[in-house]
């Protein structure tokens, strides 16, 4: 799910946003705080949290679009490590480093297949991931803003020379992805170990899944996310290899990528 966001960003605004999950986490935490301290209803707090996630993301996006418009993807991405650290620490300060009492928005098993219980959260996340991926595809393919975005991602300078407002569009992408990730975190958080660090570190599996799609293909990112989850579940059942278990998905992705890029002997641009 986050992988979809990451891919979207990488494709459209040439950045791999390491703080993607962190902005979502922060939005989610604000929501929790609002619920427990200001007594807001869960849905309202969640909406505000999502908006804050979007706003935070927009700020980062604005910084990058303003000062690093011409920089390469690596530099732009490296910058997002800063906000990641910043947001984690800030949430330690504001909300403490204890896991947050996320009020589950969704709970309970949805159905069970052959004795394996599939929870509602899982179903909703998977569906949401697919919906967002498909939705983005449609928006990109059918709307004029989508066409402009695709144009921008292919030849930024040419697009600007045609009068396409690059900055506005990219900040927009940042905002939307920020909101989506806040939503995702709000849904997923109750079922996860939900302290700031682990939530922000959701970025790691997300990035791994997105890597599978080479940060370009949304469908592969969704597949990657699912495959990663299944793979992790599978190796978790085999006790003998519990030592290497954490490395299996990692190795899988690296192996896959190396195979994909085996011909990329030379750095394309340098």
């Amino acid at each position: 799910m986050l992988a979809v966001c990451l891919t979207l960003m990488a494709r459209l605004v040439r950045v791999v946003n390491f703080s993607q999950a962190a902005t979502g986490m922060f939005g989610g935490f604000v929501a929790v705080w609002l619920v427990s301290n200001a007594g807001m209803p869960v849905w309202l707090a969640t909406v505000i949290g999502i908006l804050i996630g979007g706003a935070l993301s927009a700020i980062i996006g604005w910084i990058i679009a303003t000062w690093l418009a011409e920089a390469d993807t690596s530099t732009r991405s490296a910058v997002t490590v800063g906000p990641l650290l910043l947001l984690i620490s800030l949430s330690f300060i504001l909300f403490g480093n204890k896991p947050q009492p996320f009020r589950p928005i969704l709970a309970g098993p949805a159905f069970s297949v052959g004795g394996v219980v599939v929870s509602q959260v899982t179903v909703v996340t998977v569906v949401l991931a697919i919906v967002v991926a498909v939705g983005c595809r449609i928006i990109l393919a059918k709307t004029s803003a989508g066409t402009q975005l695709r144009a921008l991602s292919e030849r930024p300078t040419t697009a600007e020379l045609l009068g396409i407002p690059a900055k506005l569009l990219s900040v927009g992408v940042w905002t939307v992805t920020g909101m989506i990730s806040a939503l995702v975190v709000s849904i997923v958080a109750p079922s996860q170990s939900n302290d700031a660090t682990s939530l922000a570190m959701l970025i790691v599996p997300a990035a791994a899944a997105a890597l599978l799609g080479g940060f370009r293909r949304l469908d592969l990112a969704v597949v990657g996310g699912l495959a990663l989850g299944i793979l992790q579940g599978l190796v978790a059942q085999i006790d003998q290899i519990s030592f290497v278990r954490n490395f299996v998905p990692f190795l899988f992705i690296v192996g896959f990528l190396l195979w994909l890029q085996r011909k990329e002997v030379w750095d394309a641009s340098r």
Binding site: S144, T147, Q148, R150, A151, E154, R155, T157, T158, A159, E160, L161, L162, G163, I164, P165, A166
Partner: protein
């Protein structure tokens, strides 16, 4: 009637000036050919007009409005369209999407296809899969659809067979007849001079000829001198 005017423009790149003290004007409805050997700084000059790079000195005005610090996007919105070197299509976008980027309305798209009927039958194809000549046609159609006041065209012929380029030239002429001022940078000197009203030759970072295009075209000595300096 509008004018694009350059006054003593010098453009630098890293090392120092690549082209210096260029003064020229382009009027709407006319074609100015900017020719000269490779490395004369023609591309850099175009880039300074459209705002890709900033000139190190000099003044560029569009209808007496100094372009100065206007962003590329704003310049494009003022009707100054720069067609870059190489095939500047968005390869994964279809022909129609490429044109829709600037046309904005369906009527605009239709008009572009009326003007470039050869593209109409390709409208659904990804533009990256078209032939070189067709891609440049897409670029022209896209520029046309944006209703520009001035077109800066940088080596549209690059990598094209001359015959293919010869089919594009009338299209450029037609756009200019609609009242668009064209600044045409070309390495096919004679072809460019054939359609141009005025000619500017740049060699070794300086303007070595400025004047009537036909005169230059018909005088091999003049052309030779402008290109190669004093050499015979």
């Amino acid at each position: 009637m509008s004018t694009l005017k350059l006054d003593n423009v010098t453009v630098s790149r890293g090392a120092g000036p690549v082209i210096r003290d260029v003064s020229l004007r382009v009027d709407s409805g006319s074609i100015t050919a900017l020719v000269g050997p490779n490395g004369a700084g023609k591309t850099s000059l175009l880039e300074s007009i459209s705002g890709v790079i900033d000139p190190s000195s000099g003044d560029i005005r569009l209808d007496d409005e100094p372009l100065g610090k206007l962003s590329r996007v704003k310049r494009a919105r003022r009707g100054l369209v720069h067609i870059e070197q190489g095939r500047a299509v968005f390869p994964s976008l279809t022909v129609e999407e490429n044109i829709r980027l600037t046309a904005r309305t369906q009527a605009g798209v239709d008009e572009a296809f009326d003007r470039f009927p050869e593209l109409a039958k390709r409208r659904g194809n990804a533009s990256g899969l078209l032939s070189g000549g067709e891609q440049q046609m897409v670029v022209l159609a896209r520029a046309f659809a944006s209703r520009p006041r001035f077109l800066l065209i940088d080596e549209m012929s690059l990598g094209l067979a001359p015959v293919v380029f010869m089919r594009l030239l009338p299209m450029i002429e037609q756009i200019s007849k609609d009242g668009v001022g064209v600044l045409l940078v070309e390495q096919f000197t004679h072809l460019a001079l054939g359609v141009a009203d005025t000619a500017v030759v740049a060699a070794s970072g300086r303007v070595t000829y400025q004047g009537d295009a036909a005169t230059l075209k018909n005088s091999p000595e003049l052309l030779h001198r402008a290109y190669l300096g004093g050499a015979p």
